[in-house]
Subunit: 325 residues, 2 copies
């Protein structure tokens, strides 16, 4: 895989992710994995590693072994700031999906070393140009953001737990980031507004330049103060394990942005497509298994397919009629 | 409005719709209408009338008055085959929407004259080039289809009731149409398959050339044996009354196709956009009120906006990186 990588010297240390590294135990109607690499920072960093160099800030326990470390090493992910607590255990999530795969039932959550996670940034990490604050307690997210005041772009993910229990802190954190990347239900809950367009307007009024809303099988939408952009999802016949799809989307999106010298609307739009492409691969196999094996040809092929299945000619009606007459 | 219409002599008698004409009594959190023009054929034909000449096959009772007739007349909709039963009452539907507007609660259904509806086609109607079989009993749909064997394109809508109670007849009808236009849940139920892509493949295997899946606020998707096309919905801040959105979508889509000499993939894609545009206007006010007042400028403006909020540049990743290096 590394031979297939195109290294970009300018992008070194360009993308930092803070989040969870975990063991996932997943059951779906199609099979199960009792213990595999998971967590927001894992899914994010592996997806992003196809586009840029990534640094990971997370914590693991003594049960985190060489085979897991090796996944990061093979993807050239810098684990300097991956804290190891030898006498603790790694965050463990056990979940089960029903036949339609849209709802995950959490069977067990063992926070373990993640319960006391305090992100510690080395000097190298503080130079990051882009930062992704994965779904952790919003005070911790804000603490990281404040240590990287000069980043070009800081994005944040969150979840219903933090919206419900730490709303004020979460809003304060959103006020100091550039981009919020959350799902449909979270956007509505966060803004306390069932209409997504109004919800987006409200979140943007708090300060961020952009809000990206993930809609699973329905695609994704991006709101800025000036523009709106929406895409359908890549059509998949076989969805196998949706775990980590959202973080893989964010990883592809932020990784692609990190590879771009100029982060403008056009780059953001392409980044949405690359994020969707990476997420589409993620759900085709368990955990990070499919994404780990990806090639650039496969990524670019789906990018091109996106263009093909969303393209239409801009011919307003009047002209069409005149052509017939 | 008629002054704003661009007449196309070639399209006379080009589009026929068979369905319900009704009185709707609708309550939403934003207001109510105790009695307004509704029904699948009404919504469809008014939307389609902006693009082509439409003939309507339906039945009404003695309570259907001059003001309702006048709506059809003003939109140049041919009501030769609108059957009047003076001693009966028109189909009445009473419904209520919750705050999120996604679920309609049916409070009352009085089929009235619609219970005995037997579509009767005049000679003019049998010359239709395009036909839309609105959501009625599938035996009746097939009876109409057989009377117009030379139509260029016959499309069909249906609903959960017919999928549950007349599945065999419905499948026989689907076998003899060109296009199925249904919503997301109906497509999955019809194919008995939760994955939409697999569901589409199954429905296409029965014979139709295309399946169009309406997804409400998430947009729409079109499946043919060779191609896939998907679009998001037009973003709306104020959804007022979703009644008839699906039929308005179909009306815009089929009306646009009727205006085109060549119904190819490119025309179908543009038709999907025009259908979405018409549906986006429909839900902004009660019943057909907003669509009745539409201008071509308004329609084309939203068509152009669709292009703007779905466009991205096709630059695969390798090239992007090389540009940076």
């Amino acid at each position: 895989m590394e031979n297939d990588r195109i290294h970009n010297p300018k992008s070194s240390m360009s993308l930092l992710v803070v989040g969870s590294v975990a063991f996932d135990a997943v059951e779906t109607p199609f099979g199960q994995r009792p213990r595999m690499l998971g967590g927001s920072a894992s899914h994010f960093s592996i997806a992003a590693s196809f586009f840029t160099d990534v640094r990971l800030v997370a914590v693991v326990g003594g049960d985190f072994g060489p085979s897991e470390e090796d996944v990061f090493r093979r993807h050239n992910i810098d684990t300097t700031d991956l804290e190891r607590i030898p006498d603790g255990n790694t965050f463990l999530w056990r979940g089960r999906y029903e036949y339609d795969l849209n709802v995950a039932h959490t069977l067990e959550t063992q926070l373990n070393v993640f319960a006391g996670f305090q992100p510690k940034l080395s000097e190298g990490s503080k130079q990051a140009r882009l930062v992704f604050l994965g779904n952790i307690q919003p005070d911790l997210q804000r603490g990281v953001r404040e240590q990287i005041p000069n980043a070009d772009l800081v994005a944040l993910d969150t979840m219903n737990l933090w919206i419900e229990t730490t709303r004020d802190s979460l809003q304060k954190t959103i006020e100091v980031v550039d981009l919020v990347i959350i799902n449909d239900a979270e956007a509505r809950q966060l803004a306390d507004e069932p209409n997504l367009i109004k919800a987006a307007r409200k979140v943007l009024s708090w300060g961020p330049r952009g809000l990206i809303v993930k809609r699973g099988e329905y695609g994704a939408a991006m709101f800025t103060k000036e523009e709106y952009f929406a895409i359908p999802a890549y059509p998949l016949e076989a969805v196998f394990d949706p775990t980590g799809a959202g973080d893989t989307f964010a990883g592809g999106l932020m990784g692609y942005l990190a590879s771009q010298e100029k982060i403008d609307e056009a780059a953001m739009r392409r980044a949405m497509i690359f994020g969707s492409v990476m997420a589409s691969f993620n759900v085709e196999e368990f955990g990070t298994e499919r994404v780990q094996r990806l090639t650039y040809d496969e990524i670019n092929q789906r990018f091109r397919e996106f263009k093909r299945f969303t393209h239409f000619e801009e011919i307003p009606f009047e002209r069409a009629v005149k052509a017939v007459q």
